[in-house]
Structure formats: structure tokens, C-alpha cells
Symmetry: D3
Subunit: 194 residues, 6 copies
């Protein structure tokens, strides 16, 4: 894939950057897994520049959002670097969730650089984007049951090391180095501060 | 019913508007259904002017709150107009939910014109209003299982056209004209942006 | 004016309501004054239906926002009634201020029924609306120095009864009846709770 | 226990207050029960001064948070007074929940006087405190199944007077005197304002 | 004064606590000064128990609110202790400012135990309390120009040690011990994070 | 400078990335100017990787914050690209302002990847960071009166094209291409929506 990526890049430079599309891809990345990377590569292979938006970035230490926004930025950068993806084609933007759907697209547009197109496999996000007049595109998915952040958090909680094979190697390393797997286990059962 | 309504109106005009009571009726109206209209008519028939408050107005595109505050204002106006209810007797006020119960009555009072009495069939709302010293009155209900917004949203989700018979004709028309039934179906299963 | 209004109404009914435009007019109405009524009449005279949006509705008891959202709804209804403006052509919607400009138009659209056009004499509002692709129209202004809510609040504060001539008669009556002029005076000098 | 408490106090006064530790104990106290008092006594017996923090203080009238922050302050003061615990050793601080875990410890530190150590039996709170570099200590628990605020709220809801034996006598008295048991029953089944 | 205080206390105990009034006194205490103590003593001397509410408690590090809520709790406790005021007659409750005046009294009531009367020298607070039906009482003021928190912050900023004579001795000690005078100086000129 | 930068980079790669420091630099970048670039280059020249944090990112269309968070990300990326600064050494993170100073450092840490050191010329930010135990470093400043975002906004407002010489060429281009200079002029005088 990397070679085709570089070819694309080469072509786009020869043709001038004016014709480049910039797309946006939205996720919570709790944590980044190989399915995310698969999607990112497909978009870059289509010669579109990419803004990766990390949603619900203000949350951490909950069963569904164990990692902070900053940790998720770290995961993404590490995974992109390990894949040899050129950083000048990719922005990583953490944004807070505002919980008010009719404002969400305006919120997204205000935090992200201008974009031409969006990617999402989530029907609510697609609906909100389309209602706001934004073109929504799709990519192929790796096996969705397996490459699912929820499934990976469950595996970590159950102490099943299979999770390490589902995320990029560098991400697994970061999680273990910072004891974040322990955090996933500790916050797994309790969501209320008492 | 309309004739008794007009008689009431006539009487109240003859006696002078000074003796008129103004009541408040609170709902989420997701969507407006015939049970709501039944309640509204009963209150107006008692010769009370009415403030209809649309709660949780900031939300839309969720399974429980699919329609925006503005869409719900539109539903109510259309239904009132079709019923021939005079607009000079009815205010429609959308308010945001603030999620902090001890502040809720103060919030309600600050967004609504002065009122003398409130109507509610919900025990929590009644309790909050009574705790704040407000008189709470009741009306007869149409069959509550059937004329329930939750039930209507479910019917829309299941593609069962029975829902159209449970809401005022004009409301059904608006929902279909703006493809809002499709929105109900699309947001039915997903509540998290990813 | 009223007669031309009724003529317009007649025409629009004969032609069918499908061709009617619905416009939005945004203000804080602290308080409603004759300049506002002048604008409202011009818009209705153009045979456009109207949504009047009361901005910053959550605030009261401050020097710039002495009146609650609900009091301002009351002012507007009274003024419209006294002018004989038919309520089926006008919505009055109080909305909270959200203080985040890039989200403001989305917020407005979510609380108001669908509209085709907006009126504003404020350059920031015009800019925000135009940036969101909304057509912004204008009306003639009464003498802006005199018919200004800020000027009226100052007159009330200085105990100068000239203010009563600048607002619709019914509004002056409501303000005095509910001692709201005293509130304007009391909150005039202090903005911090201590 | 009280006698040992006074002995501790005596010693600490002789040695000077400079060597006194100040600990923090966090709960929601919905309502205060004998398990809480058991923990408070153990901490004071170790000759540590205590800040009792009432979490989620902005909430009331919900199934999980029926009592207001102020009512919970009242419960705690009454229970401490009945136990003869000297108020100059104990602060009671109600704080709002902010729902954003990575900010929670900073929020806690900003509302509470300086503290040296924290007590918690909740794994999430312990994790958040430890992640912020705060020492977390533990106390023995009374039978956790029985002395649980959730269990007590359920008993009140089911009209089972056994709940009165699980809370300090003065707290039971306050709850019944202010009809708060009725509120627990009324808000038990409904969490949405409609 | 202390002797009369103890006499009051004696009388109130003989008569039973049922007849005791509980009053509320609201301030920002940035910082606590001798004027505050003067007011607190007058209220206690009238044999009323007291809830001291620290407003705007979420703020610190600004020119007007340099000290955190927790630091202000510390100031008050130290000053009360040094004056020999019995803690079982006084609650100290920090509350956040909510910036929405029509909700403020409901917010106050929800965080504080039940109270019968309020004290304030601020016209806005008096107005809000009276509008909500609460009795507002007054006390004599020490020279208001001198015993003013704003004046004291200015003196600290100008490095004029006169400020130490305007606050209780223990409070001056705490401020200097924790270098809080330096913080007042550093945040004095800048209010925006850049 | 660029050549020394590359030498630094070379050395750091030979020594291994483990020894690399990561620093954080906080600004509002309204807009990015040559003073910012001067600071960024100094930090990178010290062989520290850099996280650039764009503060108050939720705001736009105000006199002090005319540009959206996303536009400022665009400015920074363009300026960094034009300077030949390698993107794998620099993160650009827009964060919302939370207006509560005691929580601000926790908020910053939660949105940014781990960092070792911070840069700031603002005394309040330095104080907040130091209070939270973070090392604060400094860089040399270009003439601060001239290379000031406030001064640049004023020049744009006054239609004085000198502003173009104070910002990187690519940034001036973007501002003019998207008519953002016109926005600065339009929002310059009005800050309230009416």
C-alpha cells in the first residue's frame, strides 16, 4: 500500500495541490485499531488529504471512553508514523462532544480546517452531515465485529491478550507502557464517582 | 368541541379579560399527537388561556428526541390552526432542558409569561411544581398506551403506518413532507457519534 | 398600515399559502419599542409571515438585560395584539444565547420553524447569517438614536418619563404594573452578586 | 468510640496543630447512613482532621439523587452533632459534579481546603486521585450490601420501614419531617420531565 | 462581643433549638476581611444560626477572584476559630456562580440547608432574593471604603502592607504563608490566557 | 535557521528519540504572526519536539477572536509548511477555553499528548502552569509591540496593509483569499447579537 500511496503523492504534486480534495474522518479512537488504519489508508490512496477528528475528546476514565483526548492523539501519531504516512497530508484534531446534535456539524466545521467530503460508517453521523449539505463517502471495512473498539476494550477488561493483535503494534506498546490497560480494567465496572 | 370553545371565548370576552386564568402545559411533543390536542382543548374549554411549553427543545436526532424544537413549534401551530383554536389564546414556547431539577421551575418561570396554574400527568413535574408552590391541575387522558409519543416513534421505526392515525392529520403531513419519518428510523438505533 | 396588511393577507389567501415567505427577525427586546413595531409592520406588509426571535432569553436582572425572556414574550404579544396584528402570521420564540458565534446560526435554526429570509440591522448578525448562506434583508429604521432599547433603559434609570412615549402603550403599562421600571433602576449600577 | 476520639483530640492539641493531617472523604450521601458514620469515625480516630465532600450536589429529585445538596449538608451536620463529633475538626463541602473525569481532581482541589490524603472505596475515584498523585487510604466497611444508599433508597421506595434502622436516628427524623421519603417514592419511577 | 455571644447561646439552649432562626450571608470573600467578621458577629449576636455562602467559588487566579473556593473556606474557618465563634452555629458553603440571575435563588436554595432570612448589602442580591419571596435583613457596616475586598486586593497589588491590618490576623498569615499575595500581584494585570 | 534545524534533527535521530523532550507552546493565534514563528523555531532549534496549542478555539467572529479554531489550524499548518518545518516534530491542537482557571492545566493536559515543559510569555499562564508543577521556559521575543496579534487586527480594521508584512506570507494569502480581513472589519465594532 505504501508504494501506491507515494505514487499518488507524486502525481498530486505534479498536478498541483489546487486539485487536491481534503476529507474528514471522524471517530472516537478508544483506542485506535487496525480497522481505523485500514480506512485511513484507503482515503489517502484516493489522493485525498485527510483531517482525522477525535470525537468526545474531553472524556476519559469511563468504560466507553477510557483514554484522554491527548492519549488518543498520541496513539494516532504513533500509528501514522509507524505506517510511514506523511504528516503533511494528515491533520489530527481532538474535539469535545457537545451533546446537542443540531449544533454538531457547525461545531465540527468550526474546529476543523475547510474540508470537501466526510467519511463515516455511522448512520447518525451520516444523517447529520447530509442534513447539513455535506457529501458523505464510504470505505471498505475490515471485519467489523473483530476490529471494533468496544470489543477491544472488552478483551482488555477480560485480560485476554488477543487485543494486542487488533491494534497497531506501536499503540499496544503505548497502552502497556503507560499502564492504560490497567485503567481500562479499573474503570470498567464503575461509572459514578462516590 | 369547537362550538363550546367559541362559546367560552364569547363569555370570557363579555366578562372582560381581567378575570382570565393563564395555565401552562408542558410536554416534549416528540411528536404532537391527538392526546396532546385532547388536553389542550379541555384546558381552553375551561376558559383558561394557555402557554404550551416544549421541553428539551435543544435536542433532536436522538431516538427519544428525533425532532428539533423548531419542528415541534411547527407541528403545534399546524395542529392548532387545523383545529381552529384562536392563536391569541395560546403561546408556544420552546425551552431547553437544563438537567438540574432544583433549578427547573425557576427556568420555566423565566422563559414563560406569568401563569397561574400548571397541567401535568407526570409525577416528577408535578412534584417539582408543587415544591415550588405552584398549583397543579389535571385533565382527562385519552388511552395513554396508544396516544403515547414513545409508541408513535416505535410505530414509525417499525414502518407501521398506524402512527398516522394517532397524530393530527397536518402533523402527519409535515412529518412525511420533510422526510422526518426517515430521520426517526435512521437515528433509532444509534445514539453515539463515532 | 393595517388596511394594507389585510389586503395583503387577502391576496395571499387567494393565491394559496404555498407561495408565502416566512422571515425571521431577531432582537433582544429589552424592552420592545416602537422601532421594533415599525420593522415588524414593514415585514408583514410585504406579505411575509414572521418569526420573531427573542435573543439572550435566559438573562434578566442585568443592566443590559433587565427583563426575563417570559416578560419579553408578554411585551411582544401585548404590542402585537394592540396593533391588531393577526397571531396566525407571527411566531414569538425566546432563545438562549450560546455565546459561541460559529454555532449560533445552527442554534437559531434548531429552535425556529423553517424560514426563508432574515432581517437584521446588526452587522455581526448579518455576517453570521450570510456566512451560513441565509439571505439577509433590511427594513427602514425609525430614528435609531431615539428608538433604541439602550436609550430607553437609560431614561428609565434616570427617572425620565419620556421613555413611555418610545414604547407601545401596552408595554409601558405592563412595565409599570409589574414594577419592572424599579428593577431597571435597581440593577442599573450593580452587575456582580456579592 | 467517643472517648477515644476525645483522647486523640487532647493529644493532638498538646502536640500542636502543625502536625495534624487533613484528609478528604468523598461521597454522594443519598442519604447519609451508618456506614458513612463508621468511616468518618475511623478517620477522626486516627487523629486526622476531615473534609467531607458531598459530590453531585447540584442534583436532586432523581431516583439516584433524590436529595438536594443543602439537604445532604443538613443530614451530615445533624448526624455529626448527634455523635458528638467536634465541628472544628470537620468541614462539609458540597460540590457539583462536572462529568469530565480528567478535570475532576482539579475541581475537587479548587473547592476544598488543602488536604494531605483521601479516602475512597470506589475504584474510579481512587484511580483518578492516584493518577493526580494523591495518596489514597482506606477504612473498614460495615456490611456493604446492607449499608448502601442505593439499598436504602429502594427500601424507602418499597415502603419498607427497615430503612430507618440503617441511617442515623436524626437523619431518619429529618427525612420524615420534611416528607422526603415521599419525594423518593414519587421520583422513583420517572426520570424525564414531560 | 464574645461574652454576649455566649450569653445568647446559653439562652437559646435553654429555650430549645426549635425557636432558632437560621440566616444566610452571601459574599465572595476575596479575601475575608474585618468587615465580614463584623457582620457575622452581629448576626450571631441576634441569636440566629448562620450559613455563610461563598459565591463564585469556581473561580480563582483572576484580578477579582484571585483565591480558590477552598482557600476562602480556609480563610473563613481560620477567622471564625480565632474569634472563638462556635462552629456548630455556622455553616460555610462554597457555591459556583451560574451567571443566570433568574435561576440564582433556586441554585442558592438547592446548595444551602433551609434558611429563614438573608443578609446582603448588595442591591442586586436583595432584589433577586425579594423577588423570590425571601426576607432580606441588614447589618451595620464598618467603614465601607476601607473594609472592601477590592481595596484590599489593590493594596496587595501595590505592595502596600496596610492590607494586613484590614483582614483578620490569621487570614493575613495564611495569605503570606502560601504566597497568595504574590498570586494577587501576578494575575493583577492579565486576565486572558494566551 | 532551517539548516541548523535539520542538523538538530539529524543529531536527535542518531541519539535515539528516547532522549527527546516534548514542549508545549500555547497561544490564541488570532492570527499567526512572525513572532509566533520566531518562538516556534527557537524551541525546535533546541531539539525539542513541540505541541502547539490553539487556545479559545471555540470562538470566532468577535473583535478579539475573529478566526475560527479550524482557520487557525490552517494558518499554522501553512506557515509551518512554508518554513519547511517537519510535521513529524510538531502537533497542532485546538482547545476550547473553559474560563475556570483552577481547571485549566488539567484541561490542557487532557487534550494534549504528554509534554515535559511549557513556553509562555504570559504571566497568568506561567503562574497556572507553575502552580501545577510544570516547568516553564522562555524564548526571545521579536519586538513585542509590533509583532502582536492585537496590533495586527487593528491594522486590518484600519485598512492599513502594513499588517501583511507582520504575518507569514502564506497566512496573509489565506486571509485575503477567504475574505477574512473583511470579517475582522465587520465584527470590529459589534460584539452583541441583537
Amino acid at each position: 500500500m505504501n508504494s501506491s500511496l507515494y505514487e499518488c503523492l507524486f502525481v498530486s504534486i505534479s498536478l498541483g495541490s489546487a486539485v487536491k480534495m481534503r476529507s474528514i474522518f471522524i471517530g472516537r479512537f478508544q483506542p485506535v485499531h487496525k480497522g481505523h488504519i485500514h480506512t485511513i489508508k484507503q482515503i489517502l490512496d484516493k489522493d485525498e488529504d485527510l483531517i482525522i477528528v477525535i470525537g468526545s475528546s474531553q472524556y476519559s476514565h469511563t468504560p466507553d471512553n477510557p483514554f484522554t483526548g491527548g492519549e488518543r492523539v498520541m496513539f494516532l501519531r504513533r500509528a501514522l508514523m509507524d505506517e510511514g504516512i506523511p504528516f503533511d497530508r494528515v491533520d489530527v484534531i481532538p474535539i469535545s462532544d457537545i451533546h446537542i446534535h443540531p449544533l454538531w456539524v457547525a461545531h465540527l466545521k468550526s474546529f476543523a480546517p475547510h474540508f470537501d467530503k466526510a467519511y463515516s460508517h455511522n448512520p447518525l453521523v451520516s444523517r447529520l452531515l447530509k442534513d447539513a449539505g455535506i457529501v458523505v463517502d464510504e470505505t471498505n471495512l475490515l471485519d467489523r465485529e473483530t476490529y471494533s473498539a468496544k470489543h477491544i476494550r472488552d478483551l482488555i477488561r477480560w485480560n485476554d491478550s488477543e487485543w494486542e493483535s487488533l491494534v497497531p503494534e506501536g499503540v499496544a506498546e503505548l497502552i502497556k507502557k503507560h499502564d492504560l490497560d490497567k485503567r481500562v480494567q479499573e474503570v470498567g465496572e464503575t461509572t459514578t464517582k462516590r
